[in-house]
């Protein structure tokens, strides 16, 4: 099939990430069951074997594309400068921070900080008052519904402890 010269070359580097993860993980999985009873091995070897075969086909196909000049080893479909412009990198950083700090600061405070920071990053600093208000409203609603009303065991910090003391002791 003739290649479409007008279209941008396929970013095969990005497409190879999942198969590479799959191959690395399958090899690790096999190593973890190498000396196990057959019951632990049979299905994993079957599924993993097929996965390795399909990945090999994909690697072969990618090599053919590269040789024909139909694609490059670029990662443009995965990481671009736009990720900084759109705030995606910032959002990812705040998400990681959210998961790290929620256990220490508790659900309500961490959610407020996460929402406010993320929204400010994505909105490029516009409407700070509205963003702070909506972040406070959402985190307090979350606290009221999930922790106060339903007593769900969300991660708790000083805010939840204080509110619990206030509500219990009046």
């Amino acid at each position: 099939m003739p290649s479409d010269k007008s279209s941008a070359p396929r970013q095969i580097g990005g497409e190879l990430v999942i198969p590479v993860i799959a191959v690395a993980y399958t090899i690790y999985f096999f190593s973890s069951i190498w000396n196990s009873p057959w019951t632990a091995q049979v299905s994993a070897f079957l599924v993993g074997g097929i996965l390795l075969t399909v990945c090999a086909i994909f690697f072969l196909r990618s090599a053919i594309w590269l040789r024909r000049g139909q694609g490059t080893l670029g990662f443009g479909n995965l990481v671009t400068r736009d990720d900084i412009r759109t705030g995606r990198i910032g959002l990812f950083a705040t998400t990681v921070a959210y998961v790290v700090f929620i256990d220490r600061l508790g659900f309500t405070l961490t959610t407020f900080l996460f929402l406010a920071l993320s929204m400010l990053i994505l909105a490029k600093g516009r409407n700070p008052a509205f963003i702070l208000m909506i972040s406070a409203l959402m985190s307090l609603t979350g606290w009221a519904v999930f922790i106060w009303a339903f007593d769900t065991r969300f991660p708790r910090g000083w805010f939840e402890t204080t509110m619990n003391a206030v509500l219990t002791n009046g």
Binding site: Q11, G14, E15, V17, I18, P19, I21, A22, Y25, T26, Y28, F29, S32, I33, S36, P37, T39, A40, V42, S43, A44, V47, G48, I50, L51, V54, C55, I57, F58, R61, N77, L78, D82, T86, G87, R88, L91, F92, T95, Y98, V99, I102, D103, F107, T111, F114, L115, S118, M119, L122, A123, I131, M138, G142, F150, D151, T152, R153, F154, P155
Partner: protein
């Protein structure tokens, strides 16, 4: 059905209807908990267990059943509007629901989903009521061999999803199956692929996988756009017209609702099989026998009707083994069993002789809940669809925070939040590079179940693989499975030939 049973049913129906003041608020509670990943009907009932036990038996049962039905329906709402299934049972819903929302047909899609869910749920409740003794036997005939074929019906959906690029689709599906193999094996409890994390010894928890693959990755993708609706679709002002159009589309496909909901009912009757299997199987079968299979995945109403009517068909199915045999068909049914035992209810055929109002009352509560839901939820589709017009700069962080913490809820391990984040990164890479996250999730959900039944079969037969073809029902299912794979190909070729004739 004799006249005494009919009079009991009529009496119970009217009695249940008089509990509208319990049912309506519970429906809204169910919609909320169903829509947030991690908050299923089961754990909400557990949280509210003290309240349920304090109620009298009838009120408690009506409360639990209304919550169960509405949570099932609620799970489909975020699946359609923001590509985030509330529970694993709604994992097949976004395949066609979300493309509709992106095309500006979110309101229509919600109306289709509500009609399919209500009619599917109502119909299967009535069928379950009428055929209870027969249905109860299904569980006895479905052994590990037969279950392998049922699982394969669901897993074959991976191949359909992979239709555009078979190699990438298969990589996604088999990677999902491999991830699903994490944990100890079912026979000797040997840990496999756990990276040394004790939290993974029970296998990969479904909610963090669901949250990561769908919600977190979607949030990182949608920020590229101002709102979820595509620019070409435009932001139309909500009107009742779209709701009525959705109702009309669903009603025109009434036969589709009927047979896919029956798939849900039959799968629901099998203890251990759940709504996720039912919705995958129904979606795959719907696509296989459709005249327009190429439209599936692009926002086809039939692709939305199938999983929604099937997962609501499961709700009535799970009640059958619970009431007739005392075997709960799922987590929610197991909690109902505890509450009923607390109130001194005995299960089995004697239930319908000694306490017919309790036995029939549960089905009637389900029927009445679906009936009331139809009129209370349908008008809301107009307002709910507004979610797709919220600017993504506000929506994306809200999705991330509330779903990540939802990943924490089922097991209360901080590890699960990190796991959800890891799945989010995997899902994001998959989306950006053309791998289907639904194919990964199907593998994660169905992989461990398939392995479990496969190993049980092999253990029973001392490793003889021919055990897979040793039962009559199993062989019938194998033939049906082969037919469901081959016939669509034959039909497709015939359609192609017919369409080529006029051109020639």
């Amino acid at each position: 059905m004799d006249s005494s049973t009919a009079s009991i049913l009529a009496e119970v129906f009217l009695e249940t209807l008089s509990f509208w003041y319990v049912i309506i608020p519970t429906i809204f509670l169910g919609l909320i908990v169903g829509a947030i990943p991690g908050f299923s009907a089961a754990n909400t009932i557990i949280i509210l267990m003290p309240l349920t036990l304090a109620m009298d038996l009838q009120t408690g049962l009506i409360f639990m059943i209304s919550l169960y039905c509405s949570a099932r329906m609620g799970a489909g709402i975020p699946a359609i509007l923001v590509n985030i299934p509330g529970t694993a049972g709604a994992a097949a819903t976004p395949l066609d629901g979300y493309p509709m929302a992106k095309q500006g047909k979110g309101q229509q899609a919600l109306a289709i989903s509500f009609v399919a869910s209500c009619i599917g749920g109502l119909l299967t409740t009535l069928i379950a009521l009428a055929t209870m003794p027969i249905l109860a036997r299904v569980g006895f005939y479905m052994h590990s061999v037969e279950m392998i074929v049922v699982m394969l019906f669901g897993i074959s959906l991976i191949a359909s999803i992979a239709a555009q690029d078979m190699v990438k689709g298969l990589i996604a599906g088999f990677l999902g199956l491999m991830i699903g193999s994490i944990g100890t094996d079912v026979v000797y409890a040997t840990p496999r692929g756990t990276f040394g994390f004790l939290e993974l010894y029970d296998g990969v928890p479904l909610i963090p996988a669901l949250v990561g693959l769908f919600a977190v990755s979607e949030a990182f993708v949608i920020i590229e756009k101002r709102v979820i609706i595509s620019r070409e679709a435009g932001v139309n002002k909500a009107s009742w017209h779209a709701t009525f159009e959705g109702v009309s589309i669903a009603l025109k496909r009434w036969w589709h609702i009927v047979w896919t909901s029956i798939i849900g009912l039959v799968i629901g009757v099998i203890p251990g099989a759940g709504a996720s299997i039912a919705s995958f199987v129904a979606y795959q079968q719907s696509r296989s026998f459709s005249k327009t299979p190429e439209l599936y995945g692009t926002g086809h109403p039939e692709g939305l009707i199938a999983p929604e009517s099937a997962n609501n068909g499961v709700t009535s199915g799970t009640l059958v083994p619970l009431l007739v045999l005392g075997i709960p068909g799922g987590a929610t049914a197991a909690i109902m069993l505890v509450v009923m035992q607390f109130h001194g209810v005995s299960f089995g055929p004697s239930l319908f002789e000694n306490q017919p109002k309790v036995g029939y009352g549960m089905f009637m509560a389900m029927a009445v809940s679906y009936f009331i839901m139809f009129f209370t939820i349908l008008p809301l589709s107009r307002y709910m669809s507004g979610v797709t017009t919220i600017p993504t700069i506000y929506l994306a962080p809200m999705i991330i925070s509330f779903t990540l913490v939802g990943g924490f809820v089922p097991r209360e391990y901080m590890f699960d939040m990190y796991l959800a984040l890891a799945f989010g990164v995997l899902g994001y890479i998959a989306r950006r590079t053309g791998y289907h996250v639904a194919a990964i999730l199907i593998g994660v959900i169905l992989g461990p179940l398939l392995e479990k039944y496969f190993l049980w079969s092999l253990k029973k037969s001392d490793g003889d693989i021919m055990v897979l073809f040793s039962s009559t029902l199993g062989n019938i299912l194998w033939v049906a499975f082969a037919a469901s794979i081959i016939l669509p190909i034959v039909f497709g070729m015939r359609r192609k030939r017919r369409s080529e004739v006029p051109i020639q």
